[in-house]
């Protein structure tokens, strides 16, 4: 194939918007480029289920194509789907979200994050990002014109923020705070008490809480409650959810944003202009997922649970101290005994043992000294990866 590159013109000043120019590509992207050139890599670096979308859900999508349902839907998503979402959220949280006023079906959970920041933040207002966190929170805050305030959390506190740290981080310009439990990348969940403390803090400082709860259906041994289960936060809570993780529907690109009507209305304004509506075929599939998908979700959850126990057991056994994750599908072991930085560890492990993990620091500075290992991969692969990591650690362990 012949590729013609566009001529590069030199402009006297950058024609790229300053904030876009200052936004750095995700560290995951850089690591992806290292992995992509290698063969036979076992990857624990994947942030999506290894299961294919359950077949009955695919069937519903296929049927919608066959019957010609390929037009736009209403901006906020098919009403039929929003009604199912309303029922689902009510069952999961006890909260009543009106399908018309309180729910938008977004293009993946990511669009919801973007909409929330753009709706809530005026230029240079702050949002507290509880880290380690999903890679897009801080860049999207910044691109929305806001200032991300990075709030580190630590394994000894279960990767939940302490009120002292929160009080130090908040300023008169703080408008919002985003949390994600069960957490990507740590797998941490949050206790009822911590939920209540965070809610008190949010109310005390008149903030809006954005809670990314996409992993809530994937919890193990103990429940991780939704922030929406607490009535007093509901008028200042933007609840983000989605079909990607629990229903294994990443490529369908469907998320959920639910919240008070004024915020949802604001988010809807942006949404109608930038995406118009979420993909229609995916929405029909999602209706099927909510109506008849519980059993498949539960089967996947049980399988993740077995792998979770397996991988954390072995990390601890080989000396990679591993915080016990009770949600999502990530383990976040400490690599302290090797004396390497996260980046060095991940790069050397890839080079010497052909195993890909994601350096913890890409999820925030406090992720330094850890690596994220996804167990959304087959047990056979996890078994082999653990073996290789054990060899690697033995070789590089510091006395």
């Amino acid at each position: 194939m012949n590729v013609t590159t566009l001529p590069q013109t030199v402009y006297s000043k950058s024609r790229i918007n300053t904030r876009v120019e200052q936004t750095v590509p995700s560290g995951i992207r850089a690591f992806f480029d290292l992995v992509i050139g290698k063969d036979d890599v076992i990857s624990l670096g994947v942030g999506e289920p290894d299961f294919a979308t359950p077949w009955h859900i695919c069937e519903a999508g296929i049927h919608s194509l066959e019957t010609g349902r390929t037009s736009y839907s209403s901006n906020n998503g098919l009403l039929e789907l929003r009604e199912e979402i309303s029922l689902f959220l009510h069952k999961a949280t006890g909260a009543s979200y009106d399908p018309v006023d309180n729910i938008i079906v977004t293009v993946g959970g990511s669009e919801g994050i973007d909409l929330a920041f753009r709706t809530l933040l005026n230029p240079n207002e702050e949002a507290i990002i509880v880290e380690p966190s999903f890679v897009s929170y801080a860049p999207l805050t910044f691109l929305a014109g806001g200032i991300p305030i990075h709030l580190p959390t630590y394994a000894e506190n279960g990767f939940a923020p302490t009120i002292e740290d929160l009080e130090k981080a908040v300023t008169p310009s703080t408008r919002a705070m985003i949390v994600n439990y069960p957490n990507n990348p740590t797998g941490a969940t949050i206790s009822d008490k911590q939920i209540d403390e965070i809610i008190e803090f949010v109310i005390r400082h008149d903030l809006v809480l954005i809670s990314d709860e996409i992993y809530v259906p994937l919890t193990y041994e103990k429940e991780c409650k939704s922030f929406a289960s607490r009535e007093k936060i509901r008028d200042r809570l933007v609840l983000l959810h989605g079909f990607s993780k629990a229903w294994a529907m990443t490529g369908w690109r469907l998320g959920i944003a639910a919240g008070p009507s004024d915020i949802i209305k604001g988010m809807g304004k942006i949404h109608q202009y930038n995406v118009m509506c979420p993909p229609t075929v995916a929405q029909y599939a999602a209706i099927e997922a909510l109506r008849h998908g519980d059993e498949e979700v539960e089967n996947m959850r049980r399988e993740y649970d077995r792998r979770r126990r397996f991988i954390t057991h072995h990390f601890n056994r080989i000396g990679l101290d591993c915080f016990e994750p009770f949600g999502a599908f990530y383990a976040f072991p400490s690599i302290k005994i090797t004396g390497m930085t996260s980046q060095e560890f991940a790069e050397k492990l890839l080079e010497e043992e052909n195993v890909a993990v994601v350096p913890g620091n890409v999820f925030g500075e406090c992720g330094e000294g850890f690596v994220r290992c996804s167990y959304a991969t087959s047990l056979d692969e996890i078994r082999e990866a653990v073996k290789r990591i054990e060899n690697f650690v033995k070789r590089h362990q510091q006395a």
Binding site: F31, F32, V35, A52, R306, F310
Partner: protein, 163 residues
């Protein structure tokens, strides 16, 4: 509540190569507890054996499989059990099921050649007293067996690293 047995069986059903130690880790139990429970299930005949799932289409040596619908006359006091036994005792018979509908027993037979299967049906099966009629269907292609898809479908490609 999922019982210990169910938890163990779910794992072994997916992959019987998992050792009791591995199963124990995966369900958060002691190795000895799991080993004992597996022992008990073997003794009680709940677990009858462990075998590989083989895609017989890939074995070069030819094999022929046949599904046979068999209509029989049940017997007083025994129902279908006696006649079923006279059929399942033959080693070439892989499976026998009593089914509802237009016939009674569904028999799955495996042989080396079509001739061999034909001989079985003609000489052994249809001559049994109480067997009224048989209808044989040779298998042409196996797509899925015992929950495992046997045909190659497109590999699902995931990005090796993603957020």
């Amino acid at each position: 509540m999922t019982t210990l047995r169910n938890k163990i069986l779910e794992i072994l059903d997916a992959d019987a190569r998992n050792t009791p130690a591995e199963v124990a880790v995966m369900i958060g139990e002691e190795e000895q507890t799991v080993a004992n429970e597996i022992d008990n299930m073997e003794k009680e005949g709940l677990i009858l054996g462990y075998r590989a799932v083989v895609n017989s289409d890939k074995i070069l040596e030819d094999k022929v499989s046949c599904v046979i619908e068999v209509s029989v006359q049940p017997e007083r006091g025994h129902g279908f059990d006696k006649i079923a036994e006279r059929i399942y005792r033959f080693p070439e018979v892989r499976s026998v099921f009593l089914v509802s509908g237009g016939y009674d027993l569904l028999v799955i037979l495996e042989g080396r050649t079509m001739r061999e299967i034909a001989d079985f049906v003609i000489e052994k099966l249809s001559v049994l007293p109480n067997v009224h009629a048989t209808s044989s269907h040779f298998l042409l292609k196996k797509y899925k067996e015992l929950g495992t898809i046997l045909v190659q479908s497109g590999q699902r490609e995931r990005m090796p690293v993603s957020p």
